[in-house]
Point group: C2
Chain length 335, copies 2
């Protein structure tokens, strides 16, 4: 057993969603049949609806991003486990509008399979659905095998703002794909994490070892190294992304620096400082910073850095109003 | 050595404050001579100024609460170490206004000594200063020995709103003392934490053991027990506070449920659910909920619950506008 502030393994997802909706009833509501989270506010029938989801354990993703300016529905699977087809289908049906539904899928085999099956059934029932697959994890060389990680949150934010502006389904999808094409993420683990039902750590690390290039499911990284200072880690991680995105001096970026779930505030801020200073030393312009927790791995200690190259359209949309549990930007319509 | 996302032990506080002010330059600025954090906005000369601080390692306390509606200055000592007298004096002098300065001190020997010495010197130099000492930690039986923990954050919020309303120094102090008299906190640790410069854990716990009644400096609690489910923990902790505050059915409270720094979002939400459900089963009315991280202990895993009994004045002030890094409530004047 690994100690956690939960009651019984297997009940943590439902109880967490109950906690979320008890704490923020003005923003989110729970469909208890499916563990789906929807906006509390009246369904915005006139705009494209955004649906996403995945296994739990990545909080505040995804339920924390449901609300004005971002998602219409988040589907919560068991910890690190794909949601089921009926669960996804129920979410699409619940929020579907005349302009259509964009489904945002992270690139994991189970997610892609179940979300696509649900999309097929929704389409057959007459709902207009399109989808994008996020594969932003730069640790994997082959692009088609890259996992979906932090950039998913920028897709929620930016495609959500596009939908709120009244863009068509094709346009919202185009913007979502632009975020995927221009965003990269890289993660480092100082410790593993533990799935409640498993009761053991996902891997073992020596006292001075870290894992570079981790996913978000407690997997080992692509490289095990000795601990190194935050600034050195930030350099390695940013170099990798800058190279892959072919970023140049003067490019404007959104910089996301986050803990992996068990990382204290102090370390997140030191890591952000180092990431920002190094990115600026390369001549990148930090247009906006997101610092905190956005796509985590249970109680893992470590960090992730994500870079999103911005153009004028993405700059407008990333700063647009939002009112969700995890992301608030001024100007949101809150009722 | 214990792995952390920092560079060199001893440099983490400065680098964290740099990260904070790089990320939120519109809200906070750093005085690099003293590691003091002040509001970026023009000094509000017409109102009582609020100064607080303490050892670092409790982030987002205290720098995260500097801004409109809360603090004017936060003084950051080394990790778990009192700020120095000159550091506190510099903060009081920097933000002092005609109506005066309220200094908020947590009840620890070093803090009380150094803050009081600085207050004496500030008073001698002609500044109007008063202070309150927060001693909300219900785990200690003798009230005068109780440590200052989470309720400090409600003091920042409520006294800060009182100052922003234009109350006099006496009135702001009265309100701050009312929060202290009506607030209690209780903490539980599932793991210890580690001070960077020490490089070792603050205590050792068995695989199935937890510490009840902890402080915020990685101290052992007042009682070691076997792990128990979140709902059972919440019951024990709330019973203790309800008894000490003599709360009755129908009383309105602010409920704060937080992780201790390394606790993932999922566990914080499950723990909040359980705390809220149990408090409601006793007939308490939850007027507002604060769920997240407010007064932490580095990377410790565990949780704290705080209850604040509200009257009409406290209800108005706790919901008043604020614009700080950690707490935002709508309506704040942000420039």
């Amino acid at each position: 057993m690994i100690k956690k502030l939960i009651n019984k393994p297997g009940e943590e997802v439902r109880e967490m969603l109950e906690g979320l909706t008890l704490a923020f009833p003005d923003i989110v509501r729970l469909d208890p049949q499916w563990n789906n989270i929807y906006r509390t506010s009246k369904k915005p029938n006139w705009k494209v609806a955004l649906v996403t989801g995945g296994g739990s354990g990545h909080e505040p993703a995804h339920a924390g991003y449901v609300g004005y300016g971002m998602l219409d529905a988040a589907v919560a699977g068991a910890v690190f486990t794909s949601p089921t087809i009926p669960q996804v289908l129920a979410a699409i049906k619940e929020v579907a509008t005349e302009p259509g539904v964009l489904v945002i899928i992270k690139n994991y085999t189970g997610d892609v399979m179940n979300f696509n099956a649900a999309i097929k059934m929704a389409t057959a029932s007459g709902i207009k659905v399109q989808s994008v697959v996020v594969n932003d994890d730069v640790a994997i060389a082959e692009k088609s095998n890259r996992r979906g990680t932090s950039i998913t949150v920028f897709v929620h934010k930016i495609a959500g703002a596009a939908a709120e502006e009244g863009m068509s389904l094709d346009e919202v999808k185009r913007v979502a794909q632009k975020v995927i094409d221009n965003g990269r993420d890289y993660g480092v683990a100082l410790t593993p994490c533990s799935v409640p039902a498993a009761g053991e750590y996902t891997f073992q690390l020596g006292q001075d070892e870290i894992e570079l290039g981790i996913g978000i499911h407690g997997e080992k990284g692509v490289q095990r190294t000795k601990w190194m200072p935050s600034a050195q880690l930030a350099k390695i991680m940013i170099d990798k992304m800058v190279d892959d995105l072919k970023l140049n001096k003067g490019d404007e970026v959104a910089l996301m620096v986050q803990g992996t779930g068990g990382t204290p505030y102090m370390e997140k801020l030191v890591f952000y400082r180092d990431a920002r200073k190094y990115a600026e030393s390369l001549g990148l312009k930090i247009y906006t910073s997101w610092v905190g927790e956005f796509m985590t791995s249970l109680e893992m200690q470590g960090g992730r850095i994500a870079l999103l190259k911005l153009d004028d359209e993405l700059k407008r949309l990333v700063m647009a109003p939002a009112n969700t549990v995890a992301i608030k930007l001024p100007g949101a319509i809150t009722s």
